[in-house]
């Protein structure tokens, strides 16, 4: 019962801060909302017995990525809000579609059934500690996705360099 209450609290806060993060006008406020969101995600992980994931969530997301966001905000220092023309002219159409989608997803909630149990029942995870379980799974069965994820990071670095690097004047270098 206590766990359920705890879950509901976290879920409500996550949804609320998520909505606020995209609707607030001030980008710094948005980032702070995301910070609260990340902490509650970490709490959810903790309640599921995944201490390592919770720690990573706090260290990497709340600690590193958010600070990076803040740096970007300070460096860019936009005085004016950038306004782009909408893809779909009516905002109400978008809200209607989003509402319909939410209604569909709420409708399937009662009939949702859980699938087959995996190789890692909770007792076994607790027995060898979640960190070890995660590592074993990641570096054996899921080694291919792990390697691809590494490649994605490499592409992100190269792409970031390509887009951010200052161009030399092109008029005198006729390729």
């Amino acid at each position: 019962m206590l766990m359920l209450l705890f879950f509901c609290y976290c879920a409500v806060v996550i949804i609320g801060t998520g909505l606020l993060a995209v609707t607030l006008r001030n980008p710094v406020h948005s980032v702070l909302m995301v910070l609260i969101l990340f902490f509650h995600m970490a709490m959810l992980y903790l309640s599921l017995g995944a201490e390592f994931l919770a720690a990573v969530q706090v260290i990497v997301y709340a600690g590193a990525i958010l600070v990076l966001y803040l740096f970007v905000l300070f460096l860019v220092s936009l005085k004016e809000e950038l306004r782009m023309p909408r893809f779909v002219s009516s905002a109400w159409l978008g809200r209607l579609i989003a509402g319909g989608l939410a209604a569909c997803l709420l409708y399937i909630l009662p009939v949702f059934s859980t699938g087959a149990r995996g190789n890692w029942p909770a007792e076994r995870v607790r027995e060898i500690t979640p960190t070890r379980a995660l590592a074993t799974e990641m570096y054996s069965a899921s080694v291919l996705p792990f390697e691809i994820a590494g490649l994605i990071l490499l592409v992100a670095v190269i792409g970031g360099l390509l887009l951010a690097r200052r161009e030399k004047d092109s008029s005198n270098t006729n390729g």
């Binding site: 949702f112 699938g115 087959a116 291919l144 691809i148 490649l151 190269i158 161009e167 390729g175």
Partner: protein
């Protein structure tokens, strides 16, 4: 626990070689500026080697079914690699004319190809998603490559925002499927669904719906196509050509794999849904293309329309239908690359020459370019004896065989409408007087692309049996 040895990675050798090619390209670009001229040829060499390795792949299932080198995947890998080779050769021409100084262009192209190869071979939703992200991330950067042009940057940011949104929706769908079945393996999902009668559960339908929406976004099917015209127009032309062929084929590869191997029992549901989407896509693509004055934008809408045609084979859910889609995507790759190559050829430094009026009287001064454009336009319309006709014929036959008569009638009508805007280009080239002088020259790169595309369009049109047979056997041998 299975130990990981080098032998485990053996089926992955082509992809690993491709990654190495990308790293070498980056290294050379960084440390040996003098070698920039050989970068495109090195890329082509790497891709051709990988193409050879891919064609020689045996049918194995590696990493516990996460990575499948079956002939279905091999076919899509061939399309993806061909698109990279042709786009690289176009880049070689572009570098001569516009002074493209980004060595990263080739490396990102190669990494995008790696992503597409992984998508084509993915037997697991996780691998599928990561392959897709690898491809998409590289393409986002390629779209925004021309930093000096505001449209390019705008296209990149639009594509990125819409793309990550679609990815999020796909992940949500995947997580629901994982919750319902307890597995991310596509084969295991199908087995679990069949064993427990999960197909009746509306939750599975909702999860599949979310995934279909995201796939439709990736292959530009209406109503998820809104990003396409702006992004295709804003991106550098060779990137547009690449995007409309390679990533689209890879998108269809996962589309077909997930729907046909993962959810065969839901075919009545997704079949009729895709039939409606296909009709809508063909209508939007073909009718909007009628009023375009820029050829690049027209080809963007035509790409949407062709995504609609390609869906006709997927929705049938049969081996026949999928093989029709596969051959059509290969044929489309050749003819679309050809048309874009003409666009790249005609553009000069500072002026893109992308409007319909620029093609007036092209036949008078540049008969060769005009004849090539004529052939590609005929093929895109679907006029025999070009390959475009054969491709459409098999698609319509597959959809008809599966009982989607209404969709097929719609496809024929929209195909007839499309003749207007394709042949308008031909009319401008042959029946108008030239307005201004176009000055361009054939570089080895662009000549190679045009030759390859011509060979594909004419060769597949005259000898369709070989390719259709190969595509059909790909599915039977699965």
């Amino acid at each position: 626990m299975n130990a990981i040895t080098w032998a485990t990675f053996e089926p992955l050798l082509p992809e690993m070689l491709l990654v190495c090619t990308g790293l070498v390209l980056i290294g050379l670009d960084l440390f040996a500026e003098k070698t920039r001229e050989v970068l495109p040829w090195l890329t082509v060499l790497g891709c051709v080697t990988v193409l050879g390795m891919v064609l020689g792949e045996r049918n194995v299932s590696a990493f516990g079914g996460m990575f499948l080198t079956d002939s279905y995947g091999v076919f899509f890998k061939v399309i993806s690699l061909l698109s990279v080779i042709m786009a690289t050769l176009m880049g070689e021409h572009y570098r001569r004319v516009h002074g493209l100084r980004h060595g990263e262009y080739y490396a990102l192209m190669v990494f995008a190809a790696t992503g597409m190869l992984i998508m084509a071979s993915a037997g697991d939703l996780m691998v599928l998603y990561l392959g897709l992200e690898l491809m998409a991330l590289s393409v986002y950067c390629l779209v925004g490559m021309n930093k000096r042009e505001a449209v390019s940057a705008e296209a990149a940011i639009k594509y990125f925002l819409m793309g990550v949104f679609a990815s999020a929706i796909m992940l949500f769908g995947m997580s629901l499927v994982y919750g319902l079945t307890g597995s991310t393996s596509i084969a295991e999902i199908a087995r679990f669904t069949a064993r427990t009668g999960l197909a009746e559960n509306p939750a599975l339908l909702a999860a599949l719906g979310l995934m279909i929406a995201a796939f439709c976004f990736k292959v530009a099917v209406a109503p998820f196509h809104f990003w396409t015209p702006d992004v295709y127009e804003g991106a550098p032309t060779m990137v547009t050509a690449f995007m409309s062929v390679g990533p689209k084929a890879a998108g269809f590869a996962v589309f077909g794999r997930v729907l046909v191997s993962g959810f065969p029992e839901l075919q009545p549901h997704w079949g009729s849904l895709l039939a409606i989407l296909a009709l809508l896509t063909m209508a939007v693509g073909n009718i909007t293309a009628l009023v375009q004055t820029s050829i690049k934008r027209m080809l963007a809408y035509s790409a949407i329309a062709h995504a609609g045609y390609s869906l006709l084979g997927v929705l049938a859910g049969t081996a026949d239908g999928l093989s029709a889609t596969m051959s059509y995507l290969l044929i489309y790759g050749f003819m679309n690359m050809g048309a874009f190559a003409i666009l790249v050829l005609l553009s000069s430094r500072g002026a893109h020459h992308e409007s319909l009026d620029d093609y007036r009287g092209l036949a008078k001064n540049h008969p060769l370019a005009a004849v090539l454009m004529l052939i590609f336009m005929f093929s895109l319309t679907g006029i025999p004896p070009t390959a475009g006709f054969i491709g459409k014929f098999y698609l319509l036959r597959a959809a008809l065989g599966a009982g989607y008569t209404g969709t097929v009638i719609g496809a024929v009508i929209f195909s007839a409408i499309s003749a207007y805007f394709y042949l308008r280009v031909v009319r401008n080239m042959y029946m108008s007087e030239p307005e201004g002088e176009l000055d361009f020259s054939y570089s080895p790169g662009i000549s190679a692309v045009l030759g390859l595309a011509l060979l594909g369009v004419v060769g597949l049109g005259l000898l369709p049996g070989t390719i259709i047979g190969r595509a059909a056997s790909a599915l039977l041998g699965q």
